[in-house]
Symmetry: C2
Subunit: 199 residues, 2 copies
């Protein structure tokens, strides 16, 4: 790569810091920007700086926002009696993309992990309890993952919620749609059998 | 994606303008930068702007440079009697990576394409002839591609070079190393047979 001038090498190196971007891709992206209009390169650079400057957490649900209260919390069309608890913004993004949920969210800052010293006070569970005491929530859907930390967090939250007059639910786990049973692991199959529903 | 604040959406959109970056990858890169140190995001943005500002063409060989004369032209270790003609900086980058060449380059601005109205004056062939008249070049290696435009350009340049006391060569084409003959197209095989060499 030493045949490139250092300003080009610097950009290639900066791109390789991004996840999933190897040296070849970084080189291709850099060559594209080199040939691109000044305007395109500038708007990418500006979008990066702008995003870092403006994006913060919604004061209510702790999802990403560039205003004090995020779009979902301030959207009058969302069902304010439903609250879905997720482990991070990626889980929330996945649910939003599915289009299956129209209530509010509470985004935890990760999941409980006693082994790593991560307790309820570290992941905004206190804020969750405060919201449930204050807001008009009737159902809490716990949508954390189904790995150990996800299940531990779900169990802890559902225990704490017994003190409140709310319905608590957990998103279902089971055989993925379009999935063949023989490719599904035994634990998932057991869960799918236990939580079978009448059709 | 509407659940993202606009500063996040803007960056996702800016990333999707890059070649080979779809919406999913753009989202992943954006989320990475969101969580990254301010310093990492800033250095990427700055590298983009810097590269656009500083990178220009070497006044001698027309490859990329951030100085008037590029690193290769100003490297005393390079053989100044050899000049390799390539169609663009990508072809030059490929040769440099191979490590097989230690002379100078002349980077054309594309290749001859009479059908598209691209003639010798459009692609720095005049500058090539001027260099050969002025510099101490003894061999010109024409390393343009082996497609129609590459061959046309090579033929044109080698014809023009007859007026100069220089050796003119063309990089070989043939069966790729590790390639099986049955997977090689007929034209390449014919060429490989015609240009066979004694071992």
């Amino acid at each position: 790569m030493s045949h490139y001038p250092s300003s080009v090498l610097n950009l290639i190196r900066a791109f390789t810091c991004l996840p999933g971007i190897g040296e070849k891709t970084a080189e291709r992206l850099t060559m594209h920007l080199l040939r691109a209009q000044q305007r395109e390169a500038q708007s990418l650079a500006r979008a990066i700086l702008d995003m870092k400057e403006k994006t913060r957490l919604c004061l209510s649900c702790f999802s990403l926002s560039d205003t004090d209260i995020c779009r979902i919390c301030s959207n009058p069309a969302r069902d304010k009696t439903m609250l879905c608890v997720v482990g991070d913004v990626d889980e929330m993004a996945a649910l939003e993309k599915s289009g299956a949920y129209y209530g509010l969210y509470h985004v935890l800052q990760g999941l409980l992990s006693p082994m790593d010293g991560i307790g309820p006070d570290d992941i905004r569970i206190r804020e969750l309890m405060q919201r449930i005491g204050k807001e008009e929530i009737r159902e809490v859907v716990i949508a954390t993952g189904t790995h150990t930390e996800g299940e531990t967090t779900a169990a802890y939250i559902s225990e704490r919620l017994k003190a409140f007059p709310v319905k608590v639910s957990r998103i279902a786990s089971g055989v993925p749609l379009g999935g063949e049973l023989r490719y599904v692991d035994q634990a998932t199959l057991r869960k799918a059998m236990e939580t079978r529903y009448v059709i």
